[in-house]
């Protein structure tokens, strides 16, 4: 066990954890933020995606020892009131069905939009292909990212 200082959603958390414990479980079980989901544990599905230094990362495969001191943003930190353009667009396009994968999808889409304010279809494919949605909301995800780009540019 070791002590780590984590900056999650601009708040400091002192936690004690096994250095090998993946960030996903630290966030969910030790910090208590459950919007970030477990899907596969091997960085294949994207449900666990959070932003580390603004970049989307698979928290299920990142040991906590590797992330201390770097700013982490989870779905709860994107905006608590659904005011981020991506969240607004997700609601406008009625993207979620079961909703389980959507936190991860949204965190990657938000990072994409920051980097590429007007993403093409190819940009969206490249950014989002690491995510699985078993309900099959992909066509709406694509549409919502474009809607969000429009909202953000207004």
């Amino acid at each position: 066990m070791a002590t780590y200082n984590l900056s999650i959603n601009s708040k400091d958390h002192n936690i004690e954890a096994d250095p090998q414990m993946p960030l996903l479980w630290v966030i969910r079980e030790l910090v208590g933020l459950t919007g970030t989901k477990y899907g596969c544990g091997i960085a294949q599905c994207g449900a666990c995606t959070v932003q580390l230094n603004g970049n989307p990362v698979r928290s299920c495969s990142l040991p906590v020892s590797m992330v201390a001191g770097q700013p982490i943003t989870t779905i709860e930190g994107l905006s608590p009131d659904n005011s981020h353009p991506i969240q607004k667009a997700w609601i406008a396009e009625q993207v979620p069905q079961c909703g389980y994968c959507q936190s991860g999808q949204i965190m990657t889409a938000a990072a994409l939009l920051k980097r590429t304010p007007n993403p093409t279809d190819a940009d969206i494919d490249n950014a989002m292909q690491g995510h699985i949605c078993r309900c099959g909301t992909y066509t709406r995800i694509r549409k919502a990212i474009k809607t969000a780009a429009h909202l953000a540019n207004q």
């Binding site: 079961c98 969206i124 909301t137």
Partner: protein, 723 residues
């Protein structure tokens, strides 16, 4: 849909014994035995619903005017939590922002049957829901008229208020609740006509969406209880294996580990064994499980391989005895065709792996989890834990997908078993690998189809023999099927209209010997039968030299089929398409709805096939929310695409091979074609929407590939890259 396969009953009705409450609370009564009329009772009175009444769901209006609707159906993405309030709001004359939805726990005192299956939520209950909303509205209007001492006929309701038309006086529902609750429910409520609807039929945004975009929706895995322990279970990699020995020394040495114990879970009628590690943290349980050593006794259990199983299925196709009448008709056909089709075993792979919390006390059990079949789970726990069902509450969280897998009581039972042993609330967590390898699975199937055409190119004889596993724990006995049928029965998914135009048809089924546990998977049976049926119809159309859509049209009498086909033609520009340009069609039917897909494929510059577009038309009769219907069809197409070209569960040496998404690939965003959904407008009986869009995708895709390449695909899944 008649099907010769046995099916375990998925609905049980539970008796309501009476409720009390200060709000105006209306319960919806289910048709009792011998009584085909539903009804509405005012349960505030406590005497409206006596013993023997079956109460399904309820609405309450409290004194602040807020409307509470118990959603008694699981919300796993299909939109029940939106559709049910939308139906009630229409007749109750409230806006959706006045409505709050609660997920109803399984409780035999209050709610009736709750399984979310058979795409049944709307088609099964909408009439009673409309009636409940209208009855409450009428009682509130009567209460207002009484208070104002004016005739009821001068009053109407709008947006949660009763309005006296001549004077313009208004009273909110909240102010009327106490008086309204004392009134008996009206006997002859007049329901609105569809043309007057302002809520039903509109694409109202889902009320659960904002919870799913900011991380606040609580799924099973997100639920925590004070003092809760975590359990992970090592289960026999071969189905039905028993625990021979446990070495827990390394596990018990891990900090926070409380106990290692043998557990069991019910897979239909068979108990499966496992070894649970219980710890005060999830991480501790995970580490302890890795350190656990278990030896399994699986002697005498057949170690199946996929190839062997497939060979057995193909042999089983020969088992049903001949139908003499069919054989005679087939012998006379001007042209004869035979084909064999195969579909794979697959996992459900819900994004949320299985998990469940149970808190078993001396006199009660409470369960929380992503659950599709609350009543079934309750019944299982009651029977096996010797606890009256009335003392068992099953709470449904949001489900991160369900697709039929979360209908089985096995994983909730595991949680309850461990909780009872530990005398503490316990959450059982399955890893993705557990979820993908331990079953239960979609059964694989094989089909032998034979068809005859008459001199005019019409189908004169049609037969489909199926070999597959029934839903359940499997069997180690060889199937002993009866003879194939004679102008009776059907396969799932095949349009009933064909059987009106085909003079001789025949169906048969052989249950395959296999101990792989199987369970319903989105659009049960139809997902596979539909592939065989609509592929073979397409082969017959080609053999007859007919346009595939015209051929179907000629064989499908009935205005609804004809209208759906015409709609498919129009929206896709079917008649103007070029020959051999990659167009395919398939139409199937299940759960009261008919769906046709037209798939357009093309060749990429590198010669590989690209799925460009899907035109989809659904006839689901009376419907509630067109946007949710579109979403369900889009999702069904994506799931159908995955099942057709992406993944399969193989078995080797008696164990499932694919363990995670690295070897069990899923469709991803770049795989998805353009999808265009159209809904037929009519006022026919409401049909399901969560499942019927899946079965026609695979055959429409394969028919399109045949159109483009001349190559028939008869075995799923196939690699699109290698066509």
């Amino acid at each position: 849909m008649q099907n010769p396969r046995p099916n375990i009953s998925r609905r049980n009705f539970i008796t309501q014994t009476g409720l009390t409450g200060i709000a105006l609370t209306l319960g919806i009564v289910l048709p009792g035995c011998g009584n085909d009329k539903g009804g509405v009772v005012n349960v505030s009175q406590g005497n409206g619903a006596g013993a023997g009444t079956e109460l399904m769901s309820w609405i309450s209006v409290d004194q602040s005017g807020k409307v509470y609707i118990m959603n008694h159906r699981s919300e796993m993405g299909q939109g029940t939590s939106q559709a049910i309030p939308q139906i009630i709001a229409e007749e109750l004359e409230v806006t959706l922002d006045q409505v709050s939805i609660r997920s109803a726990p399984a409780n035999p005192k209050k709610y009736g049957p709750q399984p979310s299956d058979g795409s049944f939520s709307v088609r099964g209950w909408h009439k009673q829901l409309l009636l409940a909303g209208a009855s409450a509205r009428q009682m509130l209007i009567t209460a207002a008229a009484d208070r104002w001492k004016v005739p009821v006929s001068e009053c109407y309701a709008r947006s949660g208020e009763v309005i006296h038309h001549p004077s313009g006086k208004k009273l909110g529902y909240g102010a009327l609740v106490e008086e309204a609750a004392k009134l008996p429910p009206p006997q002859n409520v007049v329901l609105k006509e569809r043309k007057d609807y302002t809520v039903i039929g509109r694409p109202m945004p889902r009320l659960d969406t904002p919870l799913k975009t900011n991380g606040t929706a609580v799924f099973g895995l997100d639920k925590k209880l004070p003092g809760m322990l975590y359990a992970m279970v090592e289960r026999s990699p071969r189905f039905r294996g028993k625990v021979k020995s446990i070495d827990d020394s390394a596990s018990m040495a891990i900090a926070g580990v409380k106990r290692v114990l043998k557990v069991r879970r019910p897979v239909f009628g068979t108990w499966y064994e496992g070894v649970a590690v219980v710890a005060d943290t999830l991480w501790g349980a995970m580490q302890a499980r890795k350190a656990l050593k278990v030896e399994w006794d699986d002697d005498g259990i057949e170690r199946l391989d996929s190839d062997k199983l497939r060979a057995r299925m193909l042999e089983d196709l020969k088992k049903p005895g001949p139908s003499e009448k069919f054989e005679a008709a087939y012998a006379k056909a001007a042209k004869k065709l035979e084909a064999v089709y195969e579909t794979p075993y697959q996992s459900h792979s819900c994004m949320e792996p299985l998990n469940c919390i149970a808190d078993v006390r001396d006199n009660s059990i409470e369960v929380w989890g992503p659950i599709q079949e609350a009543n079934w789970i309750q019944a299982y726990l009651s029977e096996n834990m010797k606890m009256p069902a009335a003392n068992i509450t099953v709470n449904m969280t949001f489900l991160g997908g369900g697709f039929g897998r979360k209908a089985s009581p096995d994983y909730p039972y595991e949680a309850a078993y461990i909780s009872r042993e530990m005398k503490a609330p316990v959450q059982v967590v399955w890893t993705r690998e557990d979820d993908m390898t331990m079953g239960l699975f979609r059964t694989g199937s094989a089909y032998a189809c034979r068809g005859g055409l008459d001199a005019h190119g019409n189908i004169s004889a049609f037969q489909a023999i199926t070999a597959s596993q029934p839903f359940g724990e499997g069997t180690d006995e060889d199937g002993k099927p009866g003879p194939a049928s004679d102008n009776s029965g059907n396969m799932s998914g095949l349009l009933a209209g064909y059987l009106q135009s085909i003079p001789h048809y025949s169906f048969g089924w052989c249950a395959v010997k296999s101990i792989i546990p199987t369970i319903w998977w989105r659009a049960p049976n139809a997902h596979s039968d539909g592939f065989a049926g609509e592929s073979f119809i397409d082969e017959l159309a080609f053999a007859a030299g007919k346009d595939p859509l015209e051929f179907r049209k000629a064989h499908l009498p009935g205005a609804r089929y004809q209208a759906l086909i015409e709609k498919l033609e129009t929206v896709s520009g079917w008649k103007g398409r070029g020959r051999k340009e990659g167009w395919g069609v398939a139409i199937t039917q299940c759960f009261g709805s008919t769906v046709g897909h037209i798939v357009k494929v093309s060749k990429r510059p590198d010669g590989k096939i690209k799925i460009e577009k899907v035109f989809s038309v659904i006839d689901c009769g009376w419907y509630v929310n067109p946007d949710i219907i579109s979403a369900q069809l889009e999702g069904s197409i994506v799931m159908g695409l995955g099942a057709a070209i992406k993944h399969e569960t193989h078995f080797k040496d008696g164990m499932a091979v694919e363990k995670n998404f690295d070897t069990y690939p899923m469709p991803r965003i770049h795989d998805i074609p353009d999808i265009e959904v159209h809904i037929m407008e009519n006022n026919e009986a409401a049909g399901g929407v969560g499942e019927p869009g899946l079965p026609p995708f695979a055959p429409a895709l394969c028919n399109a590939i045949f159109d483009l390449t001349g190559k028939r695909i008869r075995k799923l899944p196939f690699n699109l890259e290698e066509v």
